[in-house]
């Protein structure tokens, strides 16, 4: 009998099979551990801008991991994740504009706001399936985008700067290194919680419904309420990531919530691999560094970038995480069917 736990990383829902907790968390610990070295390296190389770059990387990793709960685990291709992300950012920026500087207020407000928006629009979008769902979430994303473009009181198309210094539990938030570690701690928490979530009873239902909706309702579970719950949870975490973006770069503009950003997030997820919780975090790292590298080489970096995305879909559909897993188990690159 073959050991099937390693064999079946072919489909999104296929690979979450029984491994021990610690083993499942090992890649998470390695990834977060390596990221934790960034400030040390940046100081050592006297390249402090790297901390800022990697703070952005970590923030997008959180957003990508949350999107993957919807995309990879629940099988829902949502193109409105950037809107929920940006909404969290705007919640922080707008409240700060009105004098609220306490993160313990700002961040929960952002989480709540994005979660609520996900609930309302998810309820409508989840009535549809397949291509309709993709197109509707794309349209909803643009609705939020235009709303903030038009909101001239808060910067309109130009975006909104946060001038007030922010506090955490009454104390002034430290420099960029502190903010980096704060974001990294949140990423770690999201990765651990995400891993637990996909293995829980709730995760079982979500994964089963992604693979076979009819089977789930036939055993007595209404998939819709579970899908809505997962959409809200992921939306709330996207709001959290958006809040951290504003905390770290003290600025938000509608560009962060355009549908292209939603597309970027999906590319990060697929690039990293939908089959693991940590893959999309790796995808975010590679995506943003690649963007940085290409844009340093040529102003026309979007051309090679677009081609890379197409090649990715054609040839590396199971993502980097699976490639790493396959190489490690000596399995070779398995194609998908």
């Amino acid at each position: 009998m073959l050991d099937n736990s390693q064999q079946t990383t072919l489909r999104p829902s296929a690979s979450w099979s029984g491994q021990q907790s610690l083993r499942r968390l090992a890649p998470v610990i390695i990834l977060v551990g390596l990221l934790a070295l960034v400030p040390v390296l940046a100081e050592g190389l006297e390249q402090p801008f790297l901390i800022r770059v990697f703070t952005r990387v970590v923030v997008f990793a959180i957003a990508a991991v949350s999107l993957n709960i919807v995309l990879g685990v629940a099988g829902l291709v949502s193109l409105m994740h950037a809107a929920l992300f940006g909404l969290g950012g705007y919640t922080v920026a707008i409240l700060a504009e009105h004098g609220t500087t306490e993160l313990l207020v700002l961040v929960p407000a952002a989480v709540l706001g994005s979660g609520l928006a996900a609930a309302v629009f998810g309820l409508i979008a989840l009535r549809t399936t397949g291509a309709y769902f993709i197109m509707i979430t794309l349209a909803f994303n643009q609705m939020f985008f235009y709303f903030f473009v038009a909101l001239e009181r808060y910067g309109g198309e130009e975006g909104l700067q946060v001038f007030a210094p922010l506090d955490l539990a009454g104390m002034a938030l430290g420099g960029r290194t502190t903010i980096f570690y704060l974001c990294l701690a949140v990423l770690l928490a999201v990765l651990v919680a995400g891993t637990r979530l996909v293995d829980s009873r709730f995760g079982m239902v979500i994964r089963a419904a992604a693979g076979n909706d009819r089977r789930v309702s036939s055993v007595g579970i209404a998939p819709l309420s579970y899908r809505l719950a997962v959409f809200v949870i992921a939306g709330a975490v996207a709001g959290l990531a958006g809040a951290l973006l504003v905390v770290s770069q003290t600025f938000i503009s509608p560009a962060e919530m355009s549908w292209v950003r939603s597309g970027d997030l999906i590319v990060m997820v697929v690039l990293g691999g939908m089959a693991t919780v940590w893959g999309p975090a790796l995808g975010a790292v590679v995506f943003l560094l690649l963007e940085l590298l290409l844009s340093a080489l040529t102003i026309h970096w979007q051309l090679p970038f677009g081609i890379i995305i197409i090649l990715l879909v054609l040839f590396l559909r199971d993502g980097l995480a699976n490639l790493i897993g396959a190489l490690r188990s000596g399995d070779g690159g398995r194609g998908h069917d």
Partner: protein, 249 residues
């Protein structure tokens, strides 16, 4: 043995210009095994779908175990005790056999809004699920990915999932379809072992299976029941033979 658990009265369903179910009435007795036979296109699968809730009828009523369920959605009927296997096997391909069954166990135990504890370590799920797998002789395949099971094993897995729902009524839509002779015989043995403990309504073309399992048989032709009776009565019924063999009258 004669108490009825399912009463179908005057069921009708139209798709466009096609009447697929017409004034269909049928009583199913508690703990009987009742086979539905009839030519293709007679509306057997449509009827199973109407019992299961995937298709809602235009007319008529369905009462199950004292409750009217005519317009209840699929998951609500499942919780009332209606379980089914599909004509084309329907399992979660990316789950192990055990996980497929555990899903049904957890549905039975109430809501699944539990976000932290690992389901695979949950003995309240795993033990009853394992029990059902053993019942269908799949105990040794518990950790095999459902996608890698043979066709026959998958059909048995589907029955294990149904049993895990602790059903009062098992709807089996062509359980023997696509099976080799050995596999069919194994499945017949399995169903024999369940017979009498559950109420079973099965659509089946394999006459060997029908005649060795069914207590009663109903014949569907063009959306209505034209005869109901014991297997012996049915095979002696000239109207039934005509429906199958096309004797002219």
């Amino acid at each position: 043995m004669t108490e009825s658990i399912l009463q179908v009265v005057g069921l009708g369903k139209r798709f466009g210009g096609l009447q697929v179910t017409r004034d269909l009435s049928l009583d199913i007795r508690r703990h009987e095994t009742h086979a539905l036979i009839g030519p293709n296109g007679a509306g057997k699968t449509t009827f199973i779908n109407q019992l299961h809730g995937g298709i809602l009828p235009d007319a008529g009523t369905i009462r199950f175990d004292g409750v009217e369920i005519t317009r209840e959605p699929v998951h609500r009927r499942a919780l009332l005790g209606v379980a089914r296997s599909f004509q084309i096997t329907s399992i979660v391909a990316g789950f192990t056999a055990l996980q497929n069954v555990a899903l049904a166990v957890q549905a039975r135990q109430g809501h699944s809004f539990r976000f932290w504890k690992r389901a695979d370590d949950d003995r309240r799920l795993q033990e009853p699920a394992m029990e059902c797998l053993r019942l269908v002789n799949l105990g040794g395949r518990a950790q095999t990915m459902a996608a890698h099971l043979s066709h026959g094993d998958r059909r048995q897995l589907e029955i294990a999932i149904a049993l895990a729902m602790e059903p009062k009524l098992l709807l089996l839509d062509e359980p023997m379809a696509g099976m080799g002779r050995d596999e069919s015989q194994r499945l017949v043995q399995l169903l024999k072992s369940l017979k009498g403990r559950y109420t079973i309504v099965m659509v089946e073309h394999d006459m060997d299976a029908v005649f060795s399992l069914a207590d009663r048989v109903s014949v569907l032709v063009r959306g209505s029941v034209i005869a109901t009776g014991t297997p012996a009565e049915i095979s002696a019924d000239p109207a039934v033979q005509a429906a199958y063999l096309g004797h002219q009258h």
